[in-house]
Structures are given as C-alpha cells and as structure tokens.
Amino acid sequence: MEIDKKEVLRYLGYKNQKIDKNITDLIDICCKEIIDICSKHSVYEIFDIERKNNQIFLLGSTLVLKDKDIKDLLLGCEKCVVMAATLGAKVDSTIAYYSRFDITKGVIMDACASTAIEYVCDEVQDEIMKNALKDNLHITTRYSPGYGDFAIDNGAEILNILDAYKKIGLSITENSIMLPRKSVTALIGLSKTLSSKKHSGCADCKNIDCEFRKDGGFCE
C-alpha cells in the first residue's frame, strides 16, 4: 500500500506553510506505521437494478434507493455495486493511544489512515472496473452515504446486505458511526455507456463551511 503524503497534508489542513524536517519525518513514520498495523478487508457484491415508483431496487436484496443524488448517479446504469472496506480495529486502537499520549502523532496517524482507506477503496474500485470492462460495462464514481442527499443511515443497510460484520468485522452504531472508524461503504453504478456523472467535488456539495473545501478537491 502507498499513502499519498500530499493527501495526508491536505487532511491536516496544510496550506503551504514552511515545515521542518521533524514534521515530514514524523509523517513518514506514521505512514509506515499505518501500513504496518492496518489489516485491510473489503467486500462487494453486484446487483441488478430495477426502477419502480421513482425508486431504485437492487434485485435480490432489500436495498431501496430513494435519494435524488444517488438516483442521479445510477442514471442509465443496469447494475449497482455495493461495497464496504475497512482498515481494521488495530488502526483505531493505535490512533486512540497516540491521541492520548502523543497528540501530534495521533493527529498525523489519523490523517494517514484516512488517506489509506481511500487507497484501499481505489484498489477495490479498480478491480471492479477491470471486471466490468470484460462485460463491456463502465463504472460510475464511488458514492457513499452522507454525500449529497444520500442519507447517512443507508450505511447500516449496506453493511447488512453485505453481511459485513461477519465477513470483514465492520459494524455501525445507531448514530451511523462505522466501527472500526477507518471504513467506507459505497455504491458504484455499472452502465453500458461511459458515465457522464463525475464527482463534481465541492461545487455541488452542500457543506459550504467545510474546511477542506477548495479547488476541485473533496472531502470524503
């Protein structure tokens, strides 16, 4: 696994300040440690889509999609990938440890882990894309509960249909907090035509006070 240091810096709110070697060294150490302790696991399945009563049904599952943004994403798609990924519990306990006894390292480890879970999702997405291409299908961008108007409580149902606790140890609380913390659930559409729907980044996002909001970047 590789952790993109630029991304780590972005999570840390870095805006071109002058930084000493001790901070860059620390970031290197933290990246390495996250790679060492993470136990990445992912699971996904692909469902056929049926559209009925202005809702999208994933056939053979109980998942029904009603929110506008997710329906937009799946416009023209015939299948939908349901995925979940996690870095595992040790990342959580290690970050909790540092955030108590070495807060600088805790904060940097947290940013490294956030970058790492995106990397894991990219890997899964890549695999999905390659397999889809064999069937002449194209993928949309990855879309998670909590983006746009796609309600955050969809996370629980995604984990349920994937049996994610049993398969990858990923759980979710009543308040839609995934545990282990560094985890992602997402949907990806599969369509015969190349998707026109790209992630539009901050321009479309309703969280206008977000500190990560900036040129073309987005915040997941």
């Binding site: 709110g13 901070i23 606790y165 049993k166």
Partner: protein
C-alpha cells in the same frame, strides 16, 4: 456472584464428547436456496416460514447430523431492535422448530456475535453484552435446547461475555468457536494460543474454530489449537474462500473434497465437525461417510502456565518474564496523589513506561483506604487494557475487588494472591476457577512464614492440593516463596533461594518473587537487589516482580538470559547494548536554545531539561509567565494566521506539556500550590466516539494552566451533570462530530439546564456552526482549540 447453576440432573440428553460429534452445515446458504434476499432477516423465517426451517433441519438430520443448530445466529436485542420481532419470538420459535424434528438428536442453541464493537473501541459495554446473551440463553434453555453453541466470535471479550452468560444462566454444555483470518488471528487480533488459554479456563465443554476460512486455510490454526487445548476441539469451516461469480459470493469446495479435509482434521485430533458458510447437507453427508470409518485420536496436550491479554499470551518458563511492580501506591507519593485525584493518565503513563522498559506482565494494585478501591480497580483495569497490550496481575487483599476486576478483565489474568490460610484459599480459589485465572500462592499460612525452605514447600504443597480440590490445574498456580529483608532476617535470605529450587523440583510449578524486598533498610539497594535476583534466577525463578525501570534489574536479566542460553545468539543483548553508549551521548548535546524557541519549534525532548535548568534561578510562576504563556500566545497567533498548521501547533503544545510536568511536580512538593486557573469539564457526547478534537482542546487548555476533567468519549449526560455538580464547574466543553450525535449534545445541554447548574457550555465539532450551536442551547461555539482557549481565558479572567 461466584458459582454456576448446578449441572446435575438438568442435562436432558447425554452428550458423549469422547466420540465424534457431527454438527450440521450452514443455515444461511440453505436459506438462499429457498430464496431469501440479501438483507432480509434470516431469523424472521422462524415465524414467517417455519416449514422451510424445519425442512432444512430435516435435510441435515437425514445427512447424518448428530446436532442441529437453531436459526438464531443474529437473534439478539440489538439486531432485532429495528424489526417486528422480539428475542422471545425468534429464539422461542427456533428452538421449538428444531426440537420438533430432532427426536433423539441434539439441538444446539446458536449464539452469534451481537454485531456491535465492544468497548473501548466501540460502545457496547461488557455488561450490556452479557445481558444481551443472557436473554437469548434463558429463552433457549427454557425451551429445551441441549447445547449452547457460541460461534463466529472475533472478539474474545465478547466470547467471554457470552460464555459467562451461558454458564450463569443455564446448566447446558457450552461450545465456543472463534473465526480467524488468513494471518492466523481473529479480526480483533486474538491468536489460537490466546483463545485456548482464555476460553479453556471458563468451563466450556469444547472449543474451536469456524467460518471465515476454508478447511485448507484452517489447518495451521487447528494445529495450534490442538497443541494446547485439553478440551475436545470443534471445526466448522466454510466451503472454501468466497469467490465472486456473477456479482455474487460463492463457495466452491465441494462435498467430497470437504470431507477429505474433515478426515485430515479428525486424524489430527478434531472430534467435533460441521460446516459453515457455503456448506450444505451434501457436505455433512460426505463427512458422515468419512468419519464412520475413523476413531477419535488421543492427543498429547501441552500444559502451559500462561496469562493473556486479548492479543498477547505470556508463557512462563520459556524465558524470564518480568512482572512490573510500579502500579502500587505503597511508598509511592505521586501514585497516591494520582489515585486520590482520579488522575488515571499518571497510572497509564506508569504502565507505558514499564512496558517500554521490557515488562511482560503488569501488577495492578490501587488499594488506598481513602478511595473506593473496587470502583477504581475496575476503571483502572479497563483503561489499562485500552492502552497497553500486556497481561495484568490483579493485586488486592479484598476478594470482592479481585472478583469485580477479574470479571471485566479481557483475557486470562493473574491474581495476586492466595496463601496457605484456609480462609483466603476458600474465598479466592472459587474466583480463580470460575474465571479461569492464574493465581500466585504465597508460602505463608496461619503460623506465619516458615523459616526453612522445607517449611515453605509444605505450605506450597497445601496450596496446590487445595487448588486441585477446587478443580484448578497445577499449571495455573505460581508459587511465591517470599523474600525476607537482609537487614532484619539476614540468615533466612538464602532459604528463599533454596525454597525456589525445592518448590520447582518437587511440585513442578512456576515461581515468582518480589525481589526488592531483600534490600529494605540498607543503603544502595540496587546492589543487593540485582545480586539477589541473579541468585534467584539461577535457582529457577520464572517471573520476578520488580521495577522494570531499574537498569540494575533489567541488565541482570538480560545478562542471565545470555549466560543461561535463553537469549539465543545473544540477539536481544546485542540489540540492547551494542549502541548503548552512543545513545546516552546523543542525549547530551544541543540544549543551548532558550525555552521560548524550543516551544515555538516544538522540540519536546529538550523541554524538561531546560525547564529544570531555569527553575534553579526562577520561581515556577516566573517560568510560566515569562516563557510558557508568551510562547503559547505566539504559537497560537501563528496558527490563527495560517503561518503554521495543526501538527506544528500540537508539537509546541506537547513541548509546553513537558515543561509543565516539571513545574507541577515542583509545586506539588512546595507549599505554593496555586497554579490552576480554573477547572473545565470536557466530554465527547453520548453516542459519539470521536475524541481527537477533544484531546487537542484538552492539551491546549492544560497548557494555559486550566485543570481539565476529561470525561472521555460516548459520555452519558448524567455523567456530565454529576461531574459539573460535584466539581462546581463553571465551564463545560462538549464535542460531537456527527450530525447524528449533535442531538445528544442538545440533550446533554438540556440536562445541565434542567438540573439548574450554573455553568457555561461551549460546543465544538466539525458539523457544528454558530447557528446550530444556538439551536441546541449552547452558550458559545468554538471553531477550534485556540478559540476555546481564548474563551476560557476570558471567562476565568486570565487576561
């Protein structure tokens, strides 16, 4: 609390664990055959389609299963909360369906994981997990299940809660399996030896492994389990690893191949077989055909003396194991202060320091007359286990404290201690037995400490034989032959050494000693301690209790391990000492900078030394006001203006913290103790577990001289109310990071108001803003930690 339900007469059908026992295969895979959708509640079929469940049971019975498993994997109150069904509906109907078709075969009540992460990483407490399992078990037992099968556990703490619930609420045989990943550990990090060491002692009837892996991948894990388990071993593999076919996960190890693996496992010594995900009645039929030609294999089991944390097992006897003695208030002024002031961070730091110095096990004693020992012990054990991964030694003279601590302990603990007195043995051994702990036995009885080695052996013999009457294996006893002080009983010092030899050779048990007792009352105690330690190690001492921060002690052990051929190729010795001199030299250079620039540059290693230097010529408050506060102000401004970013701010904050530590220690010993600028309560609200932001606020507030009562994360509003009331707190800081948990932030504020507590509430967190903060009734919103500090300084009129 000690004692389980009496087993006699209550077992409805005789279960023969001496022969092969064949379980069934997957329920979910069969349900898929009958058209269940992904995401549908499998347990709902007990009510909606009992005919299908019955059919599945019959298929397995026809295939040859001796035991069928109820359709109750997820039938717990957490999973059923959002459904139309109660635990009573689901578990009751499931057992009735299975019993209806089982005739002379057995029905196992299936208990799967709750599906929520347990504390400290998650929000599910040990007691809640226990209650959840107990509810299922009471119903299942009442309806007539024959066995309780606790399965697919990843978290050994959860498995432990389930086993205790099963033992305390039924008299049925209990089987427990855990699921492993291909790295040989469960998802929460438990390895096979740890599983066996922890679970075997809890009184289960069989243990083993299921799910996650196919039969081939399970073989190395099974090998490990068979090596250590003196109980029957159960294996229920998946039908291979899942492969994605047409977007769906499929398992492709077919019945014949599966049965060949079952044969290999049976020949290795496994006696209970079955299948998990992807297996069907075909797989079970194939196993049946294979094992009817086999006989159970007798195994050689390795009995070890070992204690465990959830992911680390420390085996005594292989090499010298150090038990760190520093978490004990006797003669330690700072620790006493910390215990009285609820300063857990100090205790945790002691644990970290000992771990880093090479301790293998940590003794934990919090006995002070002026505190509630039981409550503090339980909290300390929980906190320690969330921070260090070492097994703990629970040290108290009170049996109720020992039991409470052992009950919530995650792993297999060491209890300190029993002795030869009847009264003590009769109160402690039942706890040792019930919770499967190890225990230290002191060679002292009603007549005191025998003078001779032979006398101490006699006491040790009594302890061991009494333990065995309680069903405790000898391997779970560690004998302490007791060290006498050279200043008072010089002639008897060497009797202890002789006793270690005698006890080991006669009883074959492991030994421990509190080494530094030998030097009480004499100067240069380190010299005596290390020499005595060397002698005791030579006599066969396995686990000295000592101060791991003492270089004298640790170097003696490192040297002994080389000389006694335990540190193979002197690897550890070379690692520790080859660069030893270089390191201490490096520490000497580069302290010429002044404290201000050290803080601004965030050079935390240098802060303590230069602070000490400054305190030679300045008062504590002068250092604070001349250096610490002005530097913090500069750093804060730089952060606000964007000249530095968060990690730089934090490095400076940690540098100040180091300085402050020195200053606080000085002030504790001097008469002038007025350093605190005010006390602030901080909490991450109920339901939220994000606490990095809160921790950042905490360190900055402390930097500015505020005292912070950190209530932690997922804090119930009652806890906040109590803390504010009892401390007469004027400022409360609440943190929430999710839109979903801002609600409980509002409820916390309401609780404070409803209780008429005159405090200001400041809120922060990524999803909050000024407007939102007002809506939930907060007094102020702080966008980051520096703003919180500014606000606090204004409120407490520090500026």
């Amino acid at each position: 609390m000690v004692g389980f339900v009496n087993k006699k007469d209550l077992v409805s059908k005789k279960i023969n664990f001496n022969n092969f026992l064949l379980f069934d295969g997957a329920m979910g895979t069969m349900l898929q055959k009958y058209g269940i959708q992904r995401g549908e509640l499998p347990e709902s079929y007990n009510v909606l389609h009992p005919d299908i469940i019955e059919k599945i049971h019959i298929e397995y019975l026809n295939a040859g299963s001796d035991v069928i498993t109820t359709n109750t994997f997820g039938a717990n109150r957490y999973k059923l909360k959002s459904t139309l069904y109660s635990v009573e509906d689901i578990v009751g109907s499931a057992v009735r369906i299975a019993k209806g078709v089982a005739s002379d075969k057995l029905v196992a009540l299936d208990i799967g994981p709750i599906g929520q992460l347990m504390e400290p990483l998650g929000t599910l407490s040990f007691n809640d997990a226990y209650e959840t399992f107990a509810e299922q078990i009471k119903i299942g037992a009442r309806e007539g299940a024959d066995i309780i099968l606790i399965e697919t556990m990843s978290d050994i703490y959860e498995a432990r809660a389930a086993i205790l619930a099963a033992k305390e609420n039924s008299s049925l045989p209990v089987i427990c399996t855990m699921s492993y990943q291909d790295d040989g550990r469960t998802l929460t990090g438990t390895d096979p030896i740890t599983m066996v060491n922890v679970i075997q002692g809890l009184g289960v009837d069989a243990l083993g492994v299921n799910c996650s892996l196919g039969p081939n991948e399970m073989l190395p894990i099974i090998t490990d389990i068979l090596k250590y388990s003196s109980l029957p071993v159960i294996v229920q593999p998946n039908a291979g690893l899942p492969k994605l076919k047409n977007g769906e996960a499929v398992y492709d190890v077919h019945a014949h191949e599966f049965a060949q693996y079952a044969k290999i496992m049976a020949e290795m010594g496994v006696t209970i077989l079955g299948g998990c995900c992807g297996t069907t009645s075909d797989h079970i039929k194939a196993i049946k055909d294979v094992i009817c030609e086999l006989h159970p294999v007798k195994r050689d089991v390795k009995r070890i003396t070992a204690v465990s944390s959830p992911s680390l097992t420390v085996v005594l006897g292989e090499k010298i194991r150090v038990i760190g003695e520093r978490i004990n208030p006797t003669g330690k002024k700072k620790l006493k202060e910390a215990l009285k002031n609820n300063n857990l961070d100090y205790i945790l730091q002691e644990a970290i320091n000992q771990r880093d110095a090479g301790a293998d096990i940590l003794d934990v004693n919090v006995g002070l007359p002026e505190i509630d020992e039981l409550e503090v012990m339980v909290r300390t054990i929980k906190e320690l286990q969330s921070v260090v991964n070492l097994p703990l030694q629970i040290d108290s003279v009170r049996p109720d404290v020992i039991e409470a601590a052992v009950r919530i302990y995650n792993g297999k603990p060491l209890i300190n201690s029993v002795n030869g007195k009847d009264e003590i043995m009769d109160s402690i051994f039942p706890i040792v037995k019930k919770y499967g702990a190890c225990v230290i036995g002191l060679t002292i009885d009603e007549d005191g400490i025998p003078n001779t080695a032979e006398g101490r052996l006699k006491v040790a013999e009594r302890i061991v034989s009494r333990a065995m009457e309680y069903g405790i294996d000898k391997s779970d006893i560690i004998i302490d032959c007791l060290v006498l002080t050279a200043s008072a009983q010089q002639s008897e010092v060497k009797e202890t050494i002789r006793a270690v030899q005698l006890v080991k050779s006669t009883l074959g048990v492991k030994t421990t000693l509190g080494v530094s007792n030998v030097s009480f009352g004499l100067p240069q105690r380190g010299i005596l301690n290390r020499t005595f330690l060397a002698a005791a190690l030579t006599a066969g001492l396995d686990a000295p209790i000592l101060n791991p921060l003492s270089e004298d002690m640790m170097s003696t052990i490192n040297a002994f391990n080389v000389l006694w051929n335990k540190d193979i190729a002197s690897a550890k010795y070379i690692d520790v000492y080859s660069s030893f001199e270089g390191k201490s030299e490096a520490k000497e250079i580069g302290t010429a900078k002044d404290l201000k620039s050290i803080i601004i540059d965030g050079l935390k290693e240098e802060a303590s030394k230069i602070t000490k230097e400054l305190l030679k010529t300045m008062t504590e408050m002068e250092v604070v006001n001349t250096y610490l506060i002005p530097s913090l102000d500069i750093v804060g401004k730089k952060y606000e203006s964007g000249e530095i970013f968060l990690p730089q701010l934090l490095q400076s904050a940690e540098t100040v913290k180091k300085s402050f530590k020195i200053i606080k220690e000085r002030m504790m010993s001097s008469a002038d103790k007025k350093l605190s600028k005010g006390t602030i309560v901080l909490a991450t609200v109920r339901g939220d577990i994000h606490d990095i932001g809160k921790n950042i606020v905490k360190i900055l507030l402390e930097n500015y001289g505020f005292e912070v009562i950190d209530l932690g994360k997922d804090v119930h509003e009652d806890v906040v109310v109590n803390a504010v009331r009892s401390g007469n707190i004027k400022l409360v800081g609440l943190s929430a990071l999710m839109t979903t948990t801002v609600r409980s932030m509002g409820e916390t504020i309401k609780a404070l108001r409803d209780n008429n507590l005159d405090c200001t509430v400041l809120v922060g967190g990524a999803v909050l803003n000024e407007e939102y903060a007002k809506m939930i009734g907060a007094d102020y919103y702080a966008k980051d930690a520096t703003q919180t500090v500014k606000f606090a300084r204004k409120l407490f009129k520090c500026e």
